[in-house]
């Protein structure tokens, strides 16, 4: 990586640190977009992975599940129920494609894995590849996994119309290795760290307003809901994070462990 590229990545880190915690979704979109531009990727995803409780002796995916997912550009034909969602459904049903096993290698350590480097040429002939990736013009994908603890990992995926070069892979890896604080905020904002259950989309909206420090009354106004309804949502968020009040909730974002 050239010093100039490194400097561009440092500028992206600076921009990330200028976002408010309540704008975590805008921040992640900017990060994905900037890295796509630097490394010639056409799309990017972020996934929050958590390991479910229990024994996973017979599970090739060891209890891991992707509990939250964001894509930079929604994929046609159906942006909401897109191809990534179908992949996750197969993952949850444990209809295992060889590509599912890539993130399982060295789970719990920071790692980079990619299609063209690690899957056989035959895989690119498979119906799975052709339907989920080839059909939208993805030739290669590279993923970066960042463990936050034994049961929670933040994964970024980047998708290209050609095979990623070593320099491009190195760029993703460098850019995402240095920002543990950001991976942590990402996971928190989806209720995948410190929370007992992932948050619903509404709860996430409320959560982000809570993090701005607004009083409950004003949060209700912003949501155009009654104070009562809003208060119920807030209580449900506190319950999920195991806290009693806003100060304790915000302290989680400041690094307190509950």
């Amino acid at each position: 990586m050239t010093p100039a590229t490194q400097e561009k990545i440092h500028d992206i880190w600076d921009e990330l640190s200028d976002f408010e915690a309540s704008q975590s979704d805008q921040a992640v979109a900017l990060l994905m977009k900037s890295l796509c531009n630097l490394a010639n990727a056409w799309n990017a995803t972020w996934g929050g992975a958590v390991r479910m409780d229990g024994e996973h002796n017979n599970d090739l995916l060891q209890g891991w599940r992707v509990s939250a997912m964001i894509q930079l550009h929604p994929v046609a034909p159906d942006p909401d129920e897109g191809l990534f969602k179908e992949i996750l459904q197969l993952w949850d049903r444990r209809e295992i494609d060889p590509s599912f096993l890539l993130p399982m290698r060295s789970v719990g350590t920071f790692r980079t894995y990619s299609f063209r480097r690690e899957l056989s040429p035959e895989w690119f002939e498979s119906p799975f590849y052709k339907y989920h990736y080839g059909s939208v013009g993805t030739c290669d994908a590279v993923f970066i996994g960042f463990p936050l603890n034994q049961d929670a990992e933040s994964h970024f995926g980047f998708y290209s119309r050609k095979t990623f070069t070593d320099e491009e892979v190195e760029l993703f890896s460098y850019a995402l290795r240095g920002i543990k604080w950001f991976h942590r905020q990402r996971m928190l904002s989806h209720g995948l760290l410190a929370a007992a259950t992932p948050l619903t989309p509404t709860e996430r909206r409320v959560l982000h307003l809570l993090l701005t420090g607004l009083p409950e009354k004003q949060i209700a106004e912003q949501l155009e809901r009654s104070y009562h309804t809003t208060h119920e949502w807030i209580m449900s968020i506190y319950r999920k994070f195991g806290v009693n009040n806003r100060a304790a909730l915000m302290a989680l974002w400041l690094g307190q462990t509950s």
Partner: protein, 259 residues
Amino acid sequence: MSSNRSDLIHRLWDELADFDASRSDEALIQFMANLCALAGAWNATWIGAVRMDTSFPGDPIKGWRPHFVRRLHTTPHIDTAIQEQTEKLEQGDVDENIIRNMDGVGTFRANRLRDLVGPEWFEETYYRRYYLSVGSADAVWVASPVNQDAESWFGIFRSLDQPPFSESERDEIANIVRGIKWFQKQLMLSHGLLIAKVPLTPTERRVLHLLLAGLSEKLIAEQLERSYHTAHEQVTSIYRKFGVSNRAALMALWLGQVP
């Protein structure tokens, strides 16, 4: 950069991210200790610098003043030296190395002493008094702008029996500091240098850290071994300095809210 060294740097960044905001002082000391170990240096200093509203005519550094100075290792001798330097600065008696450093104000920069001044400077009193006599032969100064009126500075020092910093060593130190703007922002906030109108007193800083940990005022009073009333007064004074009216708004500043 060898992969081994970059692993060390990443571990250093990860460790910082593992500290909670209420322990930013400990995080700073650990960061400086790790940075010294990595850079083969013996001491480090952090300075929170702000631009004051009033600068006098001809002020060579245009109102910029160091407001908080934290040292990794200190001795009464070093304390005296820093105190002297600060007083000189207040009087507008600014050494050439600092003026040169401030030429780049507003941009991220890393300089060794000899990047800032010529060989004759090392023969002068300033270098003897504030470097050699306190056990330092060379320094790298890294300055990161946090906003228009606030900068975070790190000084990393080599002792008399260590070789001077090479260019690549300077660049590695720069790279390490470059990656932690988010932390430097927290440091400035926790010293009351970013949003607060007045820097915080030492007691207020203790109370602030307990507030950030999410403790109730009752528990804060217990930790401080003060009455609830006294603790509450201090909390209120902190809110006033930051221009907020409650805890949620205070904590939101740490989460990036701009008032």
